[in-house]
Amino acid sequence: MADFLRLVFNGFTSGSAYALAALGIVLIWRTSRTTNFAQGLIGTLNAYVAAWFILSQGWSIWLASLAALVTAFATGIIIDTIIIRPAAKVSPISKQIITLGIIMVIIGIIPWFFGTSRYQMPRFIPLSQSIDVAGATLHLNTILTLVVTLGIMAVMFWFIQFTRWGLATRVTASDETTSKLMGVPTKTITMVSWATAAILGTLAAIIVAPRTEVHVMMLITVQVSAFFAGTLGGFTTFFGPVVGAFIIAFGRNFAMFYISDIWGNVLLYMSILVFLYFRPYGIFGKKPSKKV
């Protein structure tokens, strides 16, 4: 039981990170029609900003994270304005490769600004503060992570479902040209989507960072898992990927602990592939209607 709970608690943290990253990827997929491979690295770049404020300027983690979210917003807007918008007319495949270009630029920029040393990020609440649940330790930081993640998602869903701007986002996602004709400011929507996605990626990075160190490759697993979560949950909804993210996080922990730490991941991926064969658009996804 203690092992089981430990795995569940561990899954909360990684699931939150995957869910945040996945939500960013889905947001950009819906509004810009491109797979954003740079999602992880945009987050990493801003995690560097947070780490720099903490370690060089002596700020508290709360303040530094806030600063990182502000720079994340700026990063998103800069990327949309100078790279994505001029490339609005290129084919979908080329657009994906543009995000690969963004990855390379960010990988080049990071050592330029922050050097090659690895930063150790602190947690919001130190590990010493924890409660005991049936023999397993539940860190207060895990609870905070989960609450913050779910809170942000609740706000996002409320925003997308019940506000004017949320409606604008949904119509842009379903048909950009028509929305533009109807007077929806699609450019602003796309720009804000990139900024929001960058913020979500940065939050994922700040959640993951204390577990390892801040370095360029730290979000690779999170990013790949976020793609998988999107596919499993379905790219046509905003909550599907969140569910997918937690399924993958728990599934990975259980498979690697109870079955085999070598084959656990492989088995998980295989079973998701088999599942996809029977439900090609994910758990919640719908088949898009297409004209011939």
Binding site: A87, K89, G101, M104, G108, W112, G282
Partner: protein
């Protein structure tokens, strides 16, 4: 002016020549490329440059050609290519270490990969667009996990040959080692020949019934089906061909470098391969070569020396700029240059006339 016109007149014959004798031009191209193998021996180039840059370009070109068929002609995207390149390289090494001769090992690896490719092809009939792309990423990740975790692949890297030195044996008698400089040049010529063979095969596939069927499918699946193109047959075929070329590229990697790492067959490599095709030009064989050269050659030959650590920034900017300014591929720069030259010529003629009248 007269000289330029004469040169241009001869250059104008070039496209016709390429069009009428494509196989011979590929072979001529191959001969020119294999000349690189001799440059280190006369001291013009370092041996390291030949192996890390030019040999890798040749291997990646072979892989990218197959992927270009899949992406350019059938519009399907694969993010698992790197996994199959790894399968080619590591699989050959595993079979060789088990004591099979090289030729059998290569055929066995190609057969297994082709089967996996066929399964993905069948899978692609159900799943589409981004879901298919990520399904192939699943396959790539599964393969990467297997390479890095299963002991048969040697953990960090796998060496071909015996314990004392790395080598491969062709036809059971001809032993070539990467460590011998002369042998390394011969290996370079061998992989160049393999690349030329791949180019010729791809060219003939494109010009055949299969190529036309794939082209029809990429425009409109429903229209193609209505015209009697079997979706299941050609989708599976496209995936099998792409997989076979990726695996063949991996085999060339194993044969040339003779020491195969297990770590590098990840999403990054798959993305770079797609980038090479998109930057060079979809549906173009020489475009593929150009794309590989721009993405792998230019940074490693020049940018790294000029800019050091920040060379990555310039590679990224290069990719973004080429895609924004040449959305159909950098190979189309030739068309633009010709148009610019024509504009310049008419303007100059006008000027001459103008002066004459005065």
């Amino acid at each position: 002016m007269k000289i330029i016109d004469t040169i241009m007149r001869h250059l104008k014959k070039l496209p016709a020549l390429v069009k009428h004798h494509p196989s011979w031009t590929f072979i001529l191209f191959g001969v020119l490329v294999s000349l690189i193998a001799f440059l280190p021996h006369i001291g013009i180039m370092r041996f390291g440059t030949m192996s890390t840059v030019y040999a890798y370009i040749i291997i990646l070109t072979t892989v990218a050609l197959g992927l270009n068929l899949l992406l350019g002609f059938s519009g399907l995207i694969s993010l698992g290519t790197a996994g199959f390149v790894g399968a080619g390289a590591l699989g050959t090494a595993v079979f060789l270490n088990m004591g099979f001769p090289l030729e059998i090992a290569v055929l066995a690896v190609l057969f297994i990969s082709g089967l996996i490719g066929a399964v993905i092809g069948l899978f692609s009939l159900k799943v589409e667009s981004i879901y298919l792309a990520i399904a192939t990423l699943f396959v790539g990740e599964i393969m990467r996990q297997i390479y890095t975790n299963v002991p048969i692949f040697g953990g960090q890297e796998l060496n071909l040959g015996d314990d004392s030195r790395n080598f491969v044996t062709f036809f059971g008698v001809w032993e070539l080692s990467f460590f011998d400089q002369m042998h390394r040049s011969i290996l370079f010529v061998i992989i160049t020949a393999a690349m030329v063979l791949s180019m010729i095969i791809i060219h003939h596939i494109i010009k055949s019934r299969t190529g036309r069927a794939l082209m029809a499918m990429s425009r409109s699946q429903h229209a193609a089906q209505a015209m009697g193109v079997s979706l299941i047959k050609y989708r599976v075929m496209a995936f099998v061909i792409a997989t076979l070329f990726a695996t063949f590229g991996g085999v060339l990697y194993g044969i040339y470098y003779q020491s195969v790492p297990t770590e590098q067959w990840n999403l990054d490599l798959s993305l770079f391969l797609i980038a090479m095709i998109v930057v060079g030009g979809l549906k173009s064989i020489y475009g593929t070569v150009l794309g590989v050269f721009i993405i792998h050659g230019v940074p490693n030959l020049w940018l790294k020396n000029w800019f050091g650590d920040v060379s990555y920034v310039f590679s990224g900017v290069l990719i973004i700029a080429v895609i924004i300014f040449y959305p159909r591929g950098f190979i189309h720069i030739g068309h633009d240059l010709r148009r610019a030259y024509a504009g310049l010529r008419t303007r100059m003629r006008k000027k001459v006339k103008h002066h004459g009248e005065n």
